[in-house]
Amino acid sequence: MIISLILLSGCQRRTVSRIDPGQVVDLSGRWNDTDSRLVAEEMIRDVLSRPWLMRFENRAGRVPVLIVGDVRNRSHEHIDAETFIRNMEREFVNSGTVRLVQGAEFREQIRQERADQQEFASPETVARWRREIGADYMLTGTMNSIVDQYRRDRIIYYQINLELTDMETNEKVWIGEKQIKKVVRN
């Protein structure tokens, strides 16, 4: 009987297996890596296929320079906006149709390094001042969520809004929106 008891309680061994980061795995229903990647890819595909891009190129005769600003999190979860922003930046750069400059936080770091170079680096390798590229447009956004729960069912709805604003005129040249809706049943 003791043996049957032991068999009943079973052996729970911990297993760890590696999987492809691209594989979709939904566990809790909360915001996860797949959401971040899918939203970034779709949004960037959308923004790059809209008329503002061609208009700019016709007017200026070059590709526009973008900066990714804040993506504010208004949802109920602590979402790492960082990975989402990085995903978007990668999509932008890899598309080849726009150029991207560093956001505010890293700009400061780079400037410090450049200031440091003025003093310590050999003259022929010193990065020069006042050669930073100014951005033509800034991408900003918000993340929102609504959670509705009844008994064992829960619906989690995420809405990500992104806007592209002209740095000179404050004109919004593109507005993107992507929703994700998940049903979680316990």
């Binding site: 009987m1 003791i2 909360r30 999190n73 602590h78 064992r152 316990n186």
Partner: protein
């Protein structure tokens, strides 16, 4: 085979004393409650109970608290980190479960209550902050977040402890101090919603006024002025605004008294045999009747039972001596607001689990009775001995983390840069100051300074 089996039983049963875990730790608690932390640490080092694998988690938690109180923050965090890993990697061990069912649950590895495992991060965060490592404290915040999400997913019913407002609030306070107002806002808002929806009914705690101010301020700082205004009018308060020049902030946590300890109580059941291999455990006094369907091999054996005793754990409150406190200095005075009632959460957590405790206790009983009958058929004396040992060993698991505070109060204070001699004024029930504790803090401009202070004064168990 029979001999060795008998030997095994005798060894296992003889391991269990009849005192509760708290009573066995008397010496340690004597020192701890009187603030003699060096002695308390020494007792822990040579504790026999603590050296057992099944008590390892509790031992680490107690040691972590003692080192924290001694100001050895790095060492304290090493201990809490070990406790964290132990809690994370806990797996049910089949043999462990079997022993717990055959003998008693105090023989199994202690796995920690949800609220206890969350409190590990409170202490860890406090330690890291005292060490000046805010980044590491933020790591603790992320771990809290993961644990809170797991807790919420573990249970589906709302009227139980499944969301912890204090921990959300703590996350908010730490994010806030690090300048991450967006995450601070999210944490404060989650905390507020839980204080509003769960805490008054479950634990008699309502949302601290300080939290409301923090929520409004962080909303504006995160750039959500629409939400900020909304909360301003909902609470009827004004955005307290950012710090002035040369101003810093103090966040003060007051840990009041001591959390509950566990005791044992038992019920006697008479066992009534029903039709088709079912038996009923009946206690007519309390009107409890549990049907128990015994397996094929056990049927017929359970029938001729008499009166049996089943032991259950219960919490016993150690009421704090102080019922409130103020923090006063030359510039300000602020009332410390209740943010977490650890005592009430402990009681609630056990209450939520009582049905499961009941059924495992009854399962334990049934299995032991069946085993006894099985042995009796082979050897009458061996069976009888097993029965006696079983009755003696019937015992509840009275282990819990007993160095936690009864409750946690907090306050946020704006102070000018420099040294401040503050007074922690401890109040009795009629709001009179019965003791003053000097608190010296050094405030840096536009920084948040954290302090926590634990008053250990508590009335003995069962003392009203």
């Amino acid at each position: 085979m029979k001999k060795s089996l008998l030997f095994l039983f005798v060894v296992l049963f003889s391991l269990t004393g009849c005192r509760t875990y708290y009573q066995r730790q008397q010496e340690f608690h004597g020192y701890f409650q009187t603030g003699r932390m060096d002695d308390a640490a020494r007792v822990l080092e040579r504790s026999k109970d603590g050296s057992r694998r099944r008590n390892e988690l509790l031992h680490l938690l107690d040691k972590g608290v003692v080192q924290h109180m001694l100001g050895n923050y790095s060492l304290s965090n090493e201990l809490f980190e070990q406790a964290f890993v132990l809690g994370e990697d806990f797996r049910r061990d089949a043999l462990d479960e079997a022993i717990s069912l055959l003998v008693n649950p105090a023989m199994s590895d202690y796995r920690g209550e949800d609220f206890e495992l969350l409190m590990v991060h409170y202490y860890k965060a406090m330690n890291f902050i005292q060490l000046g490592d805010l980044d590491a404290a933020l790591v603790e915040c992320r771990r809290m977040n993961i644990k809170l999400a797991a807790l919420e997913d573990k249970y589906t019913k709302n009227n139980r402890y499944r969301r912890d407002a204090f921990i959300h609030n703590l996350m908010g306070i730490i994010y806030d101090a690090s300048g991450d107002f967006n995450n601070a806002f999210i944490a404060y808002r989650n905390a507020y919603e839980i204080y509003r929806d769960d805490y008054p009914e479950l634990f008699g705690v309502s949302a601290p006024v300080q939290l409301k101010y923090d929520l409004v301020r962080s909303a504006f700082r995160a750039g959500f002025s629409d939400l900020g205004s909304e909360y301003e009018s909902l609470f009827g308060i004004q955005n307290p605004g950012s710090l002035g020049s040369g101003e810093g902030e103090l966040v003060f946590f007051w840990q009041n008294g001591l959390g509950p300890v566990k005791e044992e109580w038992s019920i006697n059941f008479s066992v009534v045999r029903g039709a088709g291999g079912t038996v009923q455990f009946v206690n007519e006094e309390m009107g409890i009747s549990f049907p128990f369907i015994s397996g094929a091999q056990a049927s017929g054996n359970l029938g001729d039972l008499r009166l049996v005793r089943v032991a259950f754990p219960k919490y016993a409150e150690r009421r704090p001596v102080f019922s409130g406190a103020r923090l006063s200095g030359r510039q300000h005075q602020s009332v410390l607001e209740l943010a977490q009632n650890v005592n009430a959460i402990a009681f609630k957590a056990l209450e939520d689990r009582m049905l499961r405790e009941f059924s495992t206790a009854l399962l334990r009983l049934a299995i032991r009775q069946a085993a006894e009958q099985g042995l009796r058929r082979q050897d009458e004396r061996l069976g009888a001995l097993f029965g006696i040992l079983g009755a003696v060993a019937e015992k509840a698991d009275t282990r819990n983390w007993q160095t936690l505070p009864h409750s946690i109060h907090y306050s946020r204070m704006k102070l000018t840069e420099g040294e401040h001699d503050l007074q922690l004024e401890l109040l009795n029930q009629s709001q009179q100051v019965i003791r003053k504790v000097p608190i010296d803090v050094s405030i840096r401009a536009s920084r948040t300074t954290f302090r926590n202070f634990h008053t250990l004064d508590a009335k003995p168990v069962g003392f009203r």
